[in-house]
């Protein structure tokens, strides 16, 4: 043979070998817990990964839908999702656990030049009409009726949705389904839905993609996870107060989201799957959701099973991952202890290694 061929092959070989050598040096015996999924939970997992030392946690923001599917296929150990698995998914994959780990919500954000520090009042039916294109302009009578005395511009509304399989979409469309019969009947809810025909509708990837799009597109409107409060403010976007089931206009805050979650605390089933959108209660914010970690019951290795149980227990503990440091930083709401002991810990307990 000749020198060049050998040379190139050797180079490739050296690259591969040295890289693998590097990785073995890097692992140092700790179990690696791979996580991927919800972009809402991504900042939280990054914080946890930076501070949790008992295992090495790798994170990736791929969207709730991908998080669920990667957990099912075993590509990752922990699938982070703002949506619990649907009934068909549970039937096809009975060995998966939907473990609540926090409570969160989202903003209905908008970019109205000059008005982004005021809070418009919007309702489910109005938002549904905006997304399906029947409300075209910001100064539409329906929006003005909710905001008496506010000068709204005569500009076209540019709504944006999540192109990736998204738990935020699930949260948003659950709210719309429960508050607007037309949306419930025609579009429904899910991590992916059949979006209405609206030539102004744009798609973006990830919460960060939504924020970027809205920041550079005046008169846009979209839904953004509450864990991105800092970014929303930095981008100069405004967000709305929403009309809840009781008919009151409520601003999103940890208090109003907690009010919404309170309404359902006694109804959480043993498998953890419950939707808490459009909650009753005078002071409840109408968009709220439990945040889930999707994990296999039977892990392929007992070392991983032990490590993930330990990590999840730490994650929901008020002295660990659910302390004010993590939750407050990201505007998340820790699970009430009653929920943790009655529902979450029993679910974590079901994780085991291979038989």
């Amino acid at each position: 043979m000749n020198k060049a061929l050998i040379g190139i092959l050797l180079l490739a070989l050296v690259a591969i070998v040295s890289a693998i050598a590097l990785t073995y040096r890097g692992n140092s015996g700790k179990v690696t817990l791979t996580e991927s999924g919800s972009t809402l939970l991504y900042p939280l997992f990054n914080e946890w990964a930076a501070n949790y030392t008992a295992a090495k946690i790798t994170t990736q923001a791929t969207g709730s839908g991908t998080g669920i599917s990667e957990a099912i296929s075993g590509t990752v150990v922990i699938g982070a999702s703002d949506a619990f698995m649907t009934n068909p998914q549970v039937e096809s994959n009975p060995d998966m656990l939907n473990i609540p780990i926090a409570i969160s919500s989202q903003y209905v954000a908008y970019n109205l030049p000059g008005m982004n520090n005021t809070h418009l009042v919007l309702s489910g039916p109005v938002i549904a009409a905006i997304y399906n294109g029947s409300i075209h302009y910001w100064n539409d009578p329906a929006i003005e009726a909710l905001n008496p005395g506010v000068q709204l511009p005569h500009q076209m509304i540019v709504p944006v949705f999540r192109s990736d399989g998204s738990g935020d979409t699930n949260m948003f469309t659950l709210f719309l389904s429960r508050s607007d019969p037309w949306w419930n009947h025609t579009v429904g809810y899910g991590t992916n839905v059949n979006w209405p025909k609206n030539p102004a509708l744009h798609g973006a990837v990830g919460n960060s993609g939504i924020i970027s799009f809205m920041a550079e597109t005046p008169y846009s409107i979209g839904y953004v996870a509450m864990t991105y409060t800092v970014q929303v403010k930095q981008a100069g976007l405004g967000y709305a107060a929403l009309i809840n089931r009781a008919g009151n206009a409520v601003l999103p805050s940890t208090a109003t989201v907690m009010n919404a979650a309170q309404q359902y605390l006694n109804q959480i089933p043993a498998d953890g799957r419950i939707a808490i959108a459009f909650a009753p209660g005078a002071d409840s914010y109408p968009i709220a959701t439990f945040e889930y970690v999707i994990v296999k019951k039977v892990q392929p290795s007992s070392a991983v099973a032990v490590a993930v149980k330990k990590f999840l227990t730490w994650a929901v503990s008020p002295n660990g991952g659910s302390s004010e440091y993590y939750m407050g930083k990201l505007d998340l709401i820790p699970l009430p202890q009653s929920v943790v002991s009655k529902v979450v810990l029993p679910l974590i307990d079901q994780i085991s290694g291979p038989p």
Binding site: G65, I68, S92, T191, W195, N198, G203, V205
Partner: protein, 319 residues
């Protein structure tokens, strides 16, 4: 046949096998969608994943979410529009640039420009997309699109609302930039050889360079056509830059030049993750059918170009 010839023949069959396997596997995967979606796949612009939280139902022998129906007319249209605009912008520019390079500029500048073309063809698509998002889109939204509407607004397609900086214009411009090096290099190579073969004679007889240029252009019709077809092949398959600048439209056909759009390659990339959680597999099958459609169109375009020019052009293969 001797041993070495046999071994090499067998090894060389691998590309043939791969083409057959790629096409075959994708068609196999697409089969449920072909049966379930039927002709509506190409005539409907609605991509409806159905009610994914409800129990799957069985339709025409396949499990699907209730109400699911997949159509790619929007993506087909988007691919057509963006590629057409990209070619309309870049091909005349390529012709002008190639002839100017061949006739007007001196040897040293030519060499620099040629090498630069090669480098630009190698810039990754995602970097074109990055530039498109941070520089092009804001510029389009604040300056270019309003100007365009003011100038061309009497044509219905160029009037109407300007939604954002993303959309047909942004993705077509980025595509035009990306295919410009390819078509320029093909046309330039033929310009140089034709110049040496025939045009120098015209110049010797007293033609001005501009007239020689016109002569050159009329002799290069085949190469221009071929260059256009091969650029088209590249434009059709371009993914990341388009994905980042197209606006991610869904379920609605574009109403004007400033509308958000989606192309087959970009939609395939964006929608693939929604196939992961689909327990019925029909989304993946529909995406496979989308892939097959894109494959056939791209290969057909390149093969026509190959018939015209005698070869296929590869990205980065310049000079």
């Amino acid at each position: 046949m001797k041993a070495d010839e046999l071994a090499i023949s067998i090894a060389s069959i691998v590309p043939v096998a791969f083409i057959l396997i790629i096409f075959g596997f994708l068609v196999f995967k697409a089969y449920p969608s072909m049966v379930y979606n039927g002709i509506k796949f190409f005539t409907s612009y609605v991509w409806n994943p159905g009610d994914i939280s409800a129990e799957p139902i069985v339709v025409r022998g396949f499990k699907v979410s209730p109400g699911a129906s997949f159509g790619i007319l929007l993506f087909l249209t988007g691919t057509l529009i963006t590629s057409a605009v990209a070619l309309l912008l870049s091909l005349p520019a390529s012709i002008f640039a190639s002839i100017a390079l061949a006739l007007y500029l001196n040897e040293r500048i030519r060499a620099v420009v040629s090498s630069a073309l090669g480098l630009f063809a190698g810039i990754p698509s995602v970097i074109y997309g990055l530039w498109g998002v941070v520089f092009l889109e804001p510029t389009l939204y604040s300056r270019v699109e309003p100007e365009m509407r003011a100038l061309l607004g009497f044509i219905p397609f160029f009037s109407g609302p300007i939604y954002s900086g993303s959309g047909i214009l942004a993705s077509s411009l980025v595509l035009a930039l990306m295919v410009f090096p390819i078509s320029t290099s093909i046309i330039y190579q033929s310009a140089v050889s034709l110049r040496d073969a025939a045009v120098n004679d015209a110049l010797a007889l007293g033609a001005t360079k501009w007239e020689a240029g016109k002569l050159l252009r009329s002799m290069m019709r085949k190469q221009i056509l071929g260059g256009g077809l091969l650029s088209l092949g590249r434009a059709l398959g371009e993914t990341m830059a388009v994905l980042m600048t197209c606006g991610g439209a869904i379920n609605s056909m574009p109403t004007n030049f400033y509308s958000p759009i989606n192309t087959m390659a970009a939609a395939l990339t964006a929608l693939l993750d929604s196939a992961f959680i689909d327990p019925t597999g029909m989304v993946l099958s529909s995406l496979a059918e989308l892939g097959v459609t894109l494959l056939l169109i791209s290969v057909a375009s390149s093969m026509i170009g190959r018939a015209v020019l005698g070869r296929v052009a590869l990205r980065g293969e310049l000079e």
